[in-house]
Symmetry: C2
Subunit: 429 residues, 2 copies
């Protein structure tokens, strides 16, 4: 694992290289994905079936086969061990509780002239959730995507998930039952995104598509953006940790590894003003690494994309972390809340020794769908607003328009728009 100091001669170059971590080369898949989208738009279910036969290796004989039977969701839910079912319920409740606090209200505001201005908040009619399947089936992703849509009040929620060899993860089915999902379709990749963006005979067109996926899914989301809304374009997972000497090296090491085990492309970066801490963490990390079930994946991620950076001060550490803008940021210092005002860019911020990042993946309540690759500089975590949109409300009184109408007509005239000018002027006394 790379260990560098900000005082190193070539630090700037090494750091720049780290910053390039999230770059995804979408261009080389864009034409493949573009073709897939066109086929779905032109041929609908026929193309879907062909893509499923090719990528997931099973034959869709009837259109109905595309859909998961809600009875199977209930069966999977009923068959869960009690402790697993309770864990799922606990997660559901905590996530729901947090997202309810995000709900914005429609508002109106009045002035002395009798005008009313405001903002109406309305859920989208239909949301489409993409949930990875097969080996990387994460039932928690279903909860994290469905619950904000449910809280937002979306009428119809559509789920797509790939089912390689026509097999589907049972915990995913159980989670779908818990979320009350009625429309879940067995299709993945760019085909699923295109089907939700434009609709097919079986899969309804949605207004917003959210959810994680590989480079094909990310590229498809980018290509359909504008015809529907999307949450974000996400890449490999990341963790950044800010730590001082108060942190326990074993905690830091295993937290770094918990990102690394996700994906060879995942990146785990510790920044600390303490060289001693840095070296201690590195030592424990390699001990823990060899004990992991997913050791191979984690090792590649740590070797190729992991780093420990030693700074001169904590302020310098924070400054570097803001440049990285990590998806997950752990603040493992003696007084983590004190650093919060200085932290500008991170998807989710985990404060203190008892807040390991994985608690946020499942249970804490906030969403685990987070901006990656530095996009926390402009994207937010998935939240209820992704499933809502606003309309401005304007109601002028007769006094109100007389008060500001002349000024308005003047600006319209100056911009050369005389019908605009007249539309205001005919209302004036």
């Amino acid at each position: 694992m790379l260990l560098i100091k900000t005082t190193d001669k070539n630090f700037k170059e090494s750091f720049e290289e780290l910053l390039g971590r999230g770059a995804m080369d979408m261009e080389h898949v864009a034409s493949i994905v573009g073709t897939i989208i066109k086929e779905i738009r032109n041929e609908g279910n026929e193309a879907l079936k062909r893509h499923i036969a090719k990528f997931d290796r099973w034959e869709v004989r009837f259109d109905e086969d595309l859909m998961v039977d809600p009875v199977d969701m209930k069966k999977a839910y009923d068959a869960l061990d009690t402790d697993l079912r309770e864990a799922l319920h606990l997660a559901y409740e905590r996530i729901k509780n947090y997202h309810e606090k995000q709900m914005p209200k429609s508002w109106i505001d009045f002035d002395k002239a009798g005008n009313t201005l405001g903002q109406k908040v309305t859920p989208v009619d239909r949301a489409g959730l993409y949930i990875p399947g097969g080996k990387a089936a994460y039932p928690s992703s279903l909860l994290m995507n469905a619950i904000p849509a449910i809280v937002a009040g979306v009428d119809e929620i559509v789920v797509t998930t790939p089912t390689p060899d026509n097999e589907i993860n049972h915990l995913l089915l159980a989670a779908a039952h818990l979320c009350g999902i009625e429309k879940m379709f067995k299709v993945g990749g760019a085909s699923a995104i295109a089907a939700m963006a434009y609709g097919t005979e079986t899969i309804p067109k949605v207004d917003v598509i959210t959810g994680p996926g590989n480079i094909f899914v990310a590229t498809a989301k980018k290509l359909v953006y504008g015809d529907v809304n999307i949450d974000m374009i996400a890449g490999p997972s990341e963790i950044g940790i800010l730590a001082d000497t108060s942190a326990i090296p074993e905690y830091l090491a295993i937290d770094l590894l918990s990102q690394a085990e996700h994906d060879e492309m995942a990146s785990s970066i510790l920044i600390t003003p303490s060289l001693e801490q840095a070296e201690a963490v590195r030592e424990v990390l390699y001990m823990e690494l060899s004990k992991l079930e997913r050791e191979m994946i984690a090792r590649k991620s740590i070797e190729e994309r992991g780093a420990i950076i030693v700074t001169e001060t904590m302020d310098e550490a924070i400054e570097l972390m803001n440049k990285i803008a990590p998806e997950h940021l752990e603040v493992m210092t003696a007084n983590p809340f004190e650093l919060l005002p200085k932290i500008r860019h991170a998807g989710a911020i985990f404060l203190g020794a008892f807040t390991p990042e994985p608690i946020g993946d499942y249970m804490a309540g906030p969403n685990h769908t987070l901006p990656t690759g530095g996009t926390a500089k402009f994207y937010s975590p998935l939240n209820v607003e992704n499933f809502l949109k606003k309309s401005s409300i304007i109601a002028m009184s007769e006094d109100g328009i007389n008060e500001i109408g002349e000024a308005c007509a003047l600006l319209a005239k100056t911009e050369g728009l005389t019908a605009h000018e007249k539309s205001v002027r005919i209302r004036l006394k």
Copy 2:
């Protein structure tokens, strides 16, 4: 102007055709725009200069020539007639006042176990505003894009605007001075979007790009989306009007025309349950049309993209309008507020006889940058949130993690992520 009834035999087809109004064929310009973006990324200012020479017909000799001198903004402001300056100030204050009401607050929330969950709201570091120039220079667009960024607390605001023949609209300069803009660059089109998305020697890279533009600008925004955030992908302007017999035909006619004068591609649609009203409006509209300065543009828009639809009931009218999801919606009925709960999809809603759409373009306060082409089903008006992003805050207590840690570890284990599991488990008592 097309006048159709919902009882017409071929109504469905005619209506579907109207719904297709906003479709933009981006594909045919995508490769041109893609090339422009690549040139800017590879060559920076050199490419910018070449594009300006080609599209705006003037030679940029030095890099500094790309930038508007803030002294010129002040001069333009000082040279304004008093009434125009006052109109600009009034607009500025009203827009600022409205957008201040949109500002979300960071929040934290506590539970009995001593956990703290919350959401931190942070402005983006740098915003880029695209403001059309030349013949279609709209100083009001500068106010509408800059003010939400200012209210959001963005540190650095960058403006780009095309300057054909190196000439720049004086009211635009004055508005820039009023908004305190310090970095304004004389470049337009896809080049400007690329320059702000990736940076050049002179133009800084931004985090978010907002603002209206033609098909090249819209396509460039779509292509850079993901590397930066954008507000929306906007097309030609639109108005929808819901009216009953209480509305004054002359008002309705001129309001329809005020959209039509924008652009030949603009669309103006009146929906009313009253055939009498429909016919009266059509008659007045043609009388007014011939008096307009921009008659040619408005006539083409009205003939090719305007429509009056007569329904059987007001509920049916609202239902159709929700399908259209117009950028601007006027509700010109006896009790417009009563219809508000039923209106699901519109960029901005104008209620009552004294609220013509143009009052919202300049003066009312809400933003005039609005979703077009039916995208009000999922996009919001430009607002302060476009210049903000959120980070989740999670701080578990020792009691807190002990309460939910086992359930979390179980879910992690079930998903096959053992480092996740361990990261939680080592914190438990």
